[in-house]
């Protein structure tokens, strides 16, 4: 490649989240989304945040992205406090959030527009490289509505990777896809992650998905959001979501999750 800096992996960043609390003002008063959450994510680690809807895991992701500021506590990325969004930490959403007024290539190039020191030819080259990585180089000039749900999320992944972030934040990115497409994307995401070794924080409410993707799975409980339990997934990669050892992990996690849920209902 003619522009090696854009393709060599910068070292991935570790995240240090310390005693983070988040309150929201709603029409019905103040709601606590997160209660003193502390978490360390090692460089290049793949961490899954697992929990029921509304447990504050997406809030935590927004805080790491710098899209929101915490009510209390500190968040650091690579030793620096997080104060604003940054191309070092790219985010993927459940909806692809691709721009319908741009074609696929321009969507992937959007995040490169402001990257200093790149000519437009280099930007294009970078965007094409990542479209190739997700297997969509043939759809460069397609419009977003012409793509299937799975293809949209692939483009979103290429768009998130193109600015060469050190942290990838994924907010239930596969939740709206059918099971078959999802399985393909599990494979793709693991392959790309093994290749690029970016730090990933992945939010999901799907137990098997968490066990399939994460080095570590952190169990959240809601009202307010807290980390309850942690599971290390010691399986070789790439992992197959249908494998028996993975199912054993998933069963463990699921019973822990149910335990916490019934505790919550009992009001503890």
């Amino acid at each position: 490649m003619s522009n090696p800096a854009e393709f060599t992996d910068l070292p991935p960043t570790h995240l240090a989240i310390d005693q983070v609390t988040q309150w929201f003002e709603t029409g019905h008063g103040r709601v606590q989304a997160l209660d003193r959450v502390s978490l360390q994510v090692a460089s290049g680690e793949f961490v899954c945040l697992l929990g029921p809807s509304g447990c504050g895991k997406s809030t935590l992701l927004n805080l790491i992205a710098g899209l929101e500021m915490p009510s209390a506590g500190t968040l650091m990325a690579g030793g620096q406090p997080i104060r604003a969004p940054s191309r070092e930490r790219m985010m993927m959403f459940q909806e692809s959030a691709l721009f319908p007024w741009l074609d696929v290539l321009s969507n992937v190039m959007f995040g490169l527009k402001h990257k200093p020191g790149l000519t437009s030819a280099e930007r294009r080259e970078v965007a094409e490289y990542y479209l190739k990585l997700v297997g969509l180089e043939k759809f460069m000039y397609a419009y977003i509505h012409e793509l299937s749900g799975g293809m949209k999320q692939r483009v979103a992944l290429a768009r998130a990777l193109a600015p060469n972030p050190r942290v990838l934040l994924m907010d239930e990115p596969f939740a709206a896809l059918d099971a078959l497409t999802r399985e393909q994307l599990y494979g793709d995401l693991q392959r790309i992650w093994l290749q690029r070794k970016v730090t990933i924080v992945f939010v999901t409410h799907n137990v098997r998905e968490a066990a399939c993707l994460g080095d570590r799975v952190l169990l959240f409980s809601s009202h307010p959001g807290r980390i309850r339990e942690e599971f290390q997934i010691k399986l070789p990669r790439p992992r197959d979501i249908n494998s028996v050892p993975l199912a054993a992990y998933a069963t463990d996690i699921m019973s822990a999750l149910k335990g916490h849920l019934s505790q919550e209902e009992a009001g503890t």
Binding site: S86, R87, M91, F93, W101, K113, H114, Y143, H145
Partner: protein, 254 residues
């Protein structure tokens, strides 16, 4: 192509029916002139150049006022959508004034500006401005917030987000506001030109007005046809390309 032919065919049928009604002499030819006499009138005013010069006078007034309305209305609509204080002030005023038929501005414009081009321009701007402000505001407020968040994580902020994310994302609304603004401006200008004689230029409205004064029905009908054709041309040239682009990109076409 087939659809164009259908439209042309239908118009021919209408003209034939009109011809037949005029031939039947049920009503006086002063009230229902034959298509041929209308065509003859149009041919004459085309030959002596008066149709062309009136059309230019009218279109100049319309386009100048319309583009001023757009240039002011789109930014003001953005501010109304994004700034609470603007929404509570300008937003309320725009909503009220948009409901005012724009021809109601004519008396006020005449008192303020006298029988000048300024009065005409003012009426057209007032016709355009409020609906463009309101449509832009609706468009900006309907932008999916996830686009803005995604843009922020990609290093876009401030004016860049406004121009490159919120503006294109709200285009479907803005274009329909532009269309409505055009329709209001066009109607109010015609009313103003029929209503007021302004010595600095005779527009199409004046030709209509004098057609009535002279009892020249073929002139009245002929100018009405010209006005209709300008409306259709504006739709095809100004708005259709935008709408096609939006449909293609957003995938909203059936």
């Amino acid at each position: 192509m087939k659809r164009t032919l259908t439209a042309i065919g239908f118009i021919c049928v209408l003209i034939a029916a009109w011809h037949w009604v005029a031939e039947a002499k049920i009503w006086s030819p002063v009230l229902v002139p034959a298509p041929a006499s209308v065509a003859l009138y149009l041919w004459e005013v085309l030959q002596d150049g008066s149709l062309w010069s009136s059309t230019i006078v009218t279109m100049k007034r319309l386009l100048a006022g319309y583009f001023i309305g757009l240039a002011a209305g789109i930014p003001l609509g953005f501010l109304t959508a994004r700034v609470q204080a603007m929404r509570d002030t300008l937003g309320v005023v725009a909503l009220g004034l948009q409901g005012l038929p724009s021809v109601c501005w004519v008396p006020l414009a005449l008192l303020w500006f006298g029988q000048t081009e300024g009065a005409m321009l003012f009426v057209v701007v007032m016709g355009t401005l409020w609906s463009v402000i309101l449509a832009t505001e609706t468009g900006v407020r309907n932008v999916n917030p996830i686009y803005i968040r995604a843009a922020h994580t990609m290093g876009s902020h401030g004016l860049h987000t406004w121009v490159w994310v919120m503006l294109p994302a709200s285009l479907p609304f803005i274009v329909s506001g532009m269309k409505q603004g055009w329709a209001f401006a066009w109607r109010s200008l015609m009313a103003a030109e029929i209503y007021v004689t302004i010595l600095t230029g005779f527009g199409l409205g004046h030709l209509l007005h004098y057609g009535r004064e002279l009892n020249a029905m073929e002139q009245v009908v002929g100018i009405m046809l010209v006005v209709i054709c300008i409306g259709l041309a504006a739709d095809k040239l100004l708005f259709s390309p935008w709408e096609k682009l939006l449909h293609r990109r957003w995938g909203t076409e059936k």
